[in-house]
């Protein structure tokens, strides 16, 4: 993987660094030929063929009847009390309501659902940050989460020291870290800043470093939240390419997104979540159709409600005017 990145670097440098807006236009026409890999999304996707998932292997991710409830403490006092009473009588929010699915190695699965459907909760459960209230979860393989990129950084330490710490936290050995250190630094494009304390970094630099670490640890399962945006347009494309390369190499991908475009280009399976349950599990197109139909329906309902409200308001206005007129007439 690192070699491919090396090949990309000269192509980037040829591209004029300033005026990113111009570059996007250009990428659709002439620049296509010059920058084969980096600047055009379409041709990568066109050439892209999903690797065949291995359905015989032990599943990469297994969810069995997973329920997740969050406790909602009213105040610090109720929280303090809960430590001794064992959360008795604390109101709960049910995020996941008996979830069942199995993902095999090499699959790339998109999670669709409206806000609050439980997408982020699932990602947190897979990465092992949060725990299910009941049910069983099994994850086989090293997970790289592109969720909280800057998590685990110590502000006062240099970029290089942070690479070391973060990789340790992710469970790598020292030998493994030394092996990928240079790749990480090169991908993050931090250059001489790598030996400066992270507190002096801009937020973009921090994100780049975080992304670079996660992408370079050779994960077997990649968890991506769509809300992620790293650096400028050029770096975003580089990230996208790196992700696609990983998918191509047979990594299992779990992807959360609302964008039809991103889902159809990255995933070969989609799970539509509704009210903390699997509403549909199957092809991306069908899932998206269902999701969009539901969204449309909800929008319609909202529109109707709004119209009804307006109507009511108008009627009320009319009544008031009538009353006023009557009062005037009486006078």
């Amino acid at each position: 993987m690192s070699e491919e990145i090396n090949n990309n670097t000269p192509a980037e440098q040829e591209a004029p660094a300033p005026a990113p807006a111009e570059k996007i236009d250009a990428s659709e026409t002439a620049a296509k030929v010059a920058q084969l890999d980096l600047d055009s999304d379409e041709d990568i996707f066109d050439n892209m063929q999903f690797p065949e998932p291995d359905y015989n292997a032990p599943p990469a991710v297994e969810f069995h009847d997973v329920v997740k409830r969050y406790y909602l403490y009213k105040s610090e006092k109720s929280r303090f009390k809960a430590m001794f009473t064992g959360n008795r009588g604390v109101p709960q929010h049910q995020a996941l309501n008996g979830l069942d699915f199995t993902i095999y190695p090499g699959e790339s699965v998109g999670f669709i659902g409206r806000n609050g459907a439980g997408k982020s909760t699932i990602l947190k459960l897979i990465t092992g940050v949060s725990f299910p209230t009941s049910g069983e979860i099994t994850v086989r393989g090293k997970v790289a989460a592109l969720l909280e990129l800057t998590a685990g950084f110590t502000q006062d330490m240099t970029g290089r020291e942070n690479i070391y710490t973060k990789c340790l936290l992710l469970g790598l050995t020292e030998a493994e870290i030394r092996e990928i250190e240079d790749d990480i630094i090169e991908f993050a494009e931090l250059e001489e800043y790598i030996d400066q304390p992270v507190r002096t970094y801009s937020s973009g630099m921090r994100m780049r470093l975080g992304f670079s670490i996660n992408i370079n640890i050779k994960p077997e399962i990649l968890v991506i939240d769509e809300a992620l945006s790293v650096g400028d347009a050029r770096f975003r494309k580089k990230c996208r390419n790196a992700i696609l390369q990983l998918i191509h190499s047979g990594v299992t991908v779990l992807f959360v997104s609302h964008s039809t475009d991103a889902l159809t280009s990255t995933c070969n399976r989609a799970i539509y979540l509704k009210d903390g349950k699997v509403h549909f599990d199957g092809s991306v197109v069908e899932a998206l159709d269902m999701y969009n139909a539901d969204v449309e329906e909800i929008r319609k309902r909202i529109r109707e409600k709004r119209r009804a409200k307006k109507r009511k308001a108008k009627e009320r206005l009319k009544q008031l005017r009538k009353q006023q007129d009557m009062e005037k007439d009486k006078k």
Binding site: T127, I137, T138, E161, L168, L169
Partner: protein
């Protein structure tokens, strides 16, 4: 890459908190060592002298002590037949560690909250590496104390080897204490404040500036047995100052109490760790 290392399942969960803690520690020794050194570096990073500050600060306090009791208040008498300075020195050195272990241990999870809420990191390891960091500093302070005591003519002695019992025992005792305090302090800020407000009181209830074993009042002297800090501080004095064995007839009750307390702490820690471990990522 070894597949076994990257297997995660909620199925294999241990039944007790104690089991959970052991499971979280299995095969993590090297990582914990690295993180404890990192923690030390990170605390004092950005200062010219770095981690040296961790030793300079308590050394300065000890210097003031020496100045006050050996130069200023000369003739302030002796405790148990030993000059007050040496008596307090052997009390202060373990106290620095104990207060750091209690307070820093309780704060450890909250201070490293990103490890818990953003990464999949075994929570009990946080308590371990925090305590280890303080232990490194403590070991250096012991060396400094030892040199001072040697100049005073109280060392070396065969009883000094008893440190090999007291040091691990002290580490384990206050590490086990953090199984309860760290999750609780992470869960509720009030608990953290409670711990830090207890510390001043604990200092004066422990035999750092006076000898608890020679208190006149029988009841109070026996109540002091229940303060674990006393056991360790008096143990350090037995080791470095008095030249007395660790287990004698006159501290049998104290020894029994400390082991009982350790047992209670293990049970309590196991209970609270299990209860709070899975809640903390959601509430911290």
């Amino acid at each position: 890459m070894a597949e076994k290392g990257y297997f995660y399942s909620t199925k294999s969960n241990a039944k007790t908190g104690l089991g959970m803690i052991f499971e979280e520690h299995r095969g993590q020794a090297k990582k914990i060592m690295n993180l404890s050194l990192n923690n030390l570096k990170a605390t004092y990073k950005g200062a010219l002298l770095g981690p040296a500050w961790a030793i300079i600060k308590p050394s300065f306090t000890l210097f003031i002590l020496w100045f006050a009791f050996s130069v200023g208040l000369r003739g302030n008498g002796t405790v148990n037949g030993f000059p007050r300075f040496y008596f307090m020195l052997t009390g202060y050195v373990p106290w620095f560690y104990i207060s750091e272990a209690i307070l820093g241990g309780a704060r450890s999870v909250r201070n490293n909250r990103q490890y818990v809420t953003k990464l999949s990191f075994p929570m009990s390891n946080i308590m371990t590496f925090t305590n280890l960091s303080s232990m490194y500093i403590h070991m250096i302070l012991i060396v400094i104390m030892y040199v001072v005591l040697c100049f005073g003519g109280y060392c070396p002695s065969i009883y000094n080897l008893q440190i090999l019992y007291y040091l691990p025992m002290m580490f384990i005792f206050f590490w086990v204490l953090t199984w309860t305090t760290a999750p609780m302090a992470a869960f509720s800020k009030d608990f953290e404040n409670l711990v830090s407000s207890i510390m001043t009181g604990l200092f004066w209830l422990s035999g750092i500036v006076y000898d608890t074993t020679s208190v006149k009042n029988d009841v109070i002297r026996h109540v002091f047995y229940f303060n674990p800090v006393n056991y360790f501080i008096n143990g350090y004095r037995r080791t470095f100052l008095y030249g007395k064995p660790a287990f004698t007839a006159d501290n049998r009750t104290e020894t029994l109490i400390i082991f009982l307390e350790l047992l209670v702490l293990i049970l309590l820690g196991s209970f609270y760790f299990k209860r709070l471990r899975k809640l903390i990522p959601d509430v911290l």
